[in-house]
Symmetry: C2
Amino acid sequence: MGNKHGSLENMERERLIPSSLEQTYGVHEDDGEVKACGCFCLGSIRKKFKGLWSNLRAVVVNSWEVARSDPRKVVFSAKLGLALALISFLIFWKEPLPDISEHSVWAILTVVVVFEFSIGATFSKGLNRGLGTLSAGGLALAMAEFAHFCERFGAAWDEAIIIISIFTVGSLATFAKLYPTLKAYEYGFRVFTLTYCYIMASGYRTNEFMGTAVDRFLLIALGAGVGLLVNVGIYPIWAGEDLHNLVVKNFFNVANSLEGIINQYLDCVEYKRIPSKILNYQAYDDRLYTGYRSAVESTSQEDTLMGFAIWEPPHGRYKMYKYPWRNFVKVSGALRHCSFMVMALHGCILSEIQAPADRRRVFQDELQRVSTAGAKVLRELGNKVKKMEKLGSLNILDEVLKAAEDLQTKVDRKSYLLVDANSWEIGKPPIEFQDIQDISKTDDNDPFKYHGYHSFSEARLDLGTSRSPETTNLPFAGTNGFHKSLTREFSFKPERMVIQDEGDTYKSASVLSLVTFTSLLIEFVARLGNLVVAFEELSETAKFKAPPAEGRVEEEEVCGFWGRFWRFVKPRDRNDNLLA
Amino acid sequence: MGNKHGSLENMERERLIPSSLEQTYGVHEDDGEVKACGCFCLGSIRKKFKGLWSNLRAVVVNSWEVARSDPRKVVFSAKLGLALALISFLIFWKEPLPDISEHSVWAILTVVVVFEFSIGATFSKGLNRGLGTLSAGGLALAMAEFAHFCERFGAAWDEAIIIISIFTVGSLATFAKLYPTLKAYEYGFRVFTLTYCYIMASGYRTNEFMGTAVDRFLLIALGAGVGLLVNVGIYPIWAGEDLHNLVVKNFFNVANSLEGIINQYLDCVEYKRIPSKILNYQAYDDRLYTGYRSAVESTSQEDTLMGFAIWEPPHGRYKMYKYPWRNFVKVSGALRHCSFMVMALHGCILSEIQAPADRRRVFQDELQRVSTAGAKVLRELGNKVKKMEKLGSLNILDEVLKAAEDLQTKVDRKSYLLVDANSWEIGKPPIEFQDIQDISKTDDNDPFKYHGYHSFSEARLDLGTSRSPETTNLPFAGTNGFHKSLTREFSFKPERMVIQDEGDTYKSASVLSLVTFTSLLIEFVARLGNLVVAFEELSETAKFKAPPAEGRVEEEEVCGFWGRFWRFVKPRDRNDNLLA
């Protein structure tokens, strides 16, 4: 197994890891080096063994990591092994029904095929397999009878009928499989085709159509029964619970992203070089980026999990027939709608046009308040979803709406700071107005007081030096002249405008970009309302419990000695930032 | 079959159509009504037959639609039927090797299992199956020998060894299947487990381990051979081509979305009621929305297609060993990065805070130019990807950069129109400046000249009436007071501010929202640069052909009589908006 692992892993590396990564992670192909002194000299053999050994060690270490990060995988593997071992006792069956041993292989195969990670997937596949086998068996028996009947007209007739029927059934079932709305039953159609062909082929040879079909079906039922019993009976893994956890995780991820982005924006931290993976929307390990990306990207995973969850019987905390899993996905969709705004906010950090630091500081308090309140709402909703509690009478949006309102008012009152009056075509405004633009930096509420005034020209100079124009992550930057990004087009193209104008245009754009940032943040807050609506709908349909009354010690479901013990030793504030 | 279809379709409806839709589309469950007069009266039977008949008719009509929209599905189904029919001749095989007929079923099963829609998937599955079978066969034979060897120590030893080995192999292979980097080989591990158990079970009974393994492998090879031959030989369907087309389609979709959004913005068309599906980011049939959504949502489809495409041999226009499919996905990722900006632009239309129409008109020409030029760049790049041509010496971004620059300059020169000076804390600006804010509507370049001035208060009144605050798609709007969206919080909460202030805040926000729109559009243009870089990289690595020299009639690959005929009759301008 170890060797197999290794070879497969190498193939994997060759195929799936892009060359850039190989350099980063040191996946070199030194082992393939062929030396002139001969392939099989002792040194090279030793080297190969060493390589094999280190590969093996890496596999063991990685497996340990995988097992530790999700122990359910180990449990599931052991469960499958157990089910297989149980059912393979059939091989040694002797009396009273010797046929059982002969067809035991079907029961074993069924266990392998039906045993899926989550209970929902197991049920769904099991039902598909059962239906496919039953209907194909029925059809095959009927066709076999018909072929036998036709045999009297000539020897070749039954063969022709069997082949034609196989062609027809195969084609129709395959077309049905490709039919868009029947995609969920793809596996069923595959099993249908398989079973039909199998019964036709093996039945024709032994002329025991009926026996083949019935034996097979009984043993498949036995295999499915043992598989289900083991899978559901021992540490069941529920797709619904996975979906629930995924939605909760998304809430906390987006909240973290939001806070991080606003903090980074206010600290004026820029990317020295924007990772090309972000520019191409590929997976990349950046705290701000992964937060909202995971929420945006989880669509297909959610759909898959929901597809399985609806097959699962009521269980655990989901004690309701027809549990509204769809509403979980809906809440997650509403959250995604919010996280697109977080993504757009991140876009402001990625952009080449950056608002000057002093203007950002003017709105620092308000931006910070909206960010904190917004993230708090997300975390609170996430916790509510997690604990399956209703919202209660308190208005969860109160604080964030107030903060957004204050931000909007401040923007409104200070919007003269967000425009650059220098190049107005209506002529420059009176001199007092210009001065105010600079003086305003020393707002009394501003914690970052300047100790002296910059003159207007100095301020522009600052702006020029603080923005390093070396965000060059464009691999083909040298080949053609036009790959420079827009800003640099503006800034470094002497043939278009005179330098003075370019600086002004850039300055105006950079000042206005603060407006964009605040507008996007306010739009984010507006979208929170829709998220709350989706949550309320979920909490109604899924019959979430009422929140504990204020002031009362929160009652939790405590069961058994260990539960009481945990209640005794647990830290007080375990609900805050549990998943942060 | 018809009945099966029908019943499956009903299940589909029950499970997959949300109850709200059922009401809309008239999927009623009238048929289930049980009347007091008895279940089996003639009327109800007739009704049932009628229902069955209409169901059947719907299935046929829909199937015809599916077949017409993608005829490859029909071809593929027929191909599978043909391969099955060919291989099932083995059933009737008599001499010289009677064993063939006995094991023929394996060849048939292999055809069903390996035959996948695209060639890449077929190769990938075939290899997985081959490797899985071979390695499991080898291991099973070795273990069987070992079990036989141990039999001499006691009768139960071999049974114990077989069961323990099945448990171990099953568990380990399952764990490997769940190992994140080995996900692509999941099917291989499943086949490995299956084969191992099968050989152990059937070999133990007949004591013909070797025979079972070799026979099975030969027939599987035969089945795989016939399957591959038919699948590749007759009208092959390439995953690579699908990926290529998908990427091209995304370009045109995003371009359409962009143009549509800018037009709608300039025409001041608002959603009367924003569809809740858009708010929850679910699929919804809206021209602007589907355009960028399809580009954003195609990530997983692209990954799947790429996973298959890398298995495909050089073919058709992709005549290169190790074709850089990864770069197609990268280009699509860069396009996605752009389309997030288009999505944010759409967000401005969805937002409650809307810029006043007169201000939009001031920037109408510039916005329109950027939109047209941007969409043109996207379409041109899409066409280049489609025709696999390099960019050539012309700067594709020239026009859109110029347009964006002009827009930026105009914003710069007219930024006094983008702020509302009424509530500045530094006191109102001199009266001339205020007047200018209104007068500026009558810009000479503005095609929408006003015939009279509104006084300031009238303008505000207009604003209040033109914005209908009835965008109420909030189902729980009545239950709690705080589900109103942000704007309405601002506008209709008398306890927070005096009405005058609220109107001003809203007005200021609405005027500033135009800044957001233009900034986002300019950021979109900036991101186009990155897209061009990704395209250039693709065109280099995939060795796209040089573009035809200007003025020369475009040469196309014309092959055979029908090609020349088509060239003769085809419409001239077939590349424009081909996929639009």
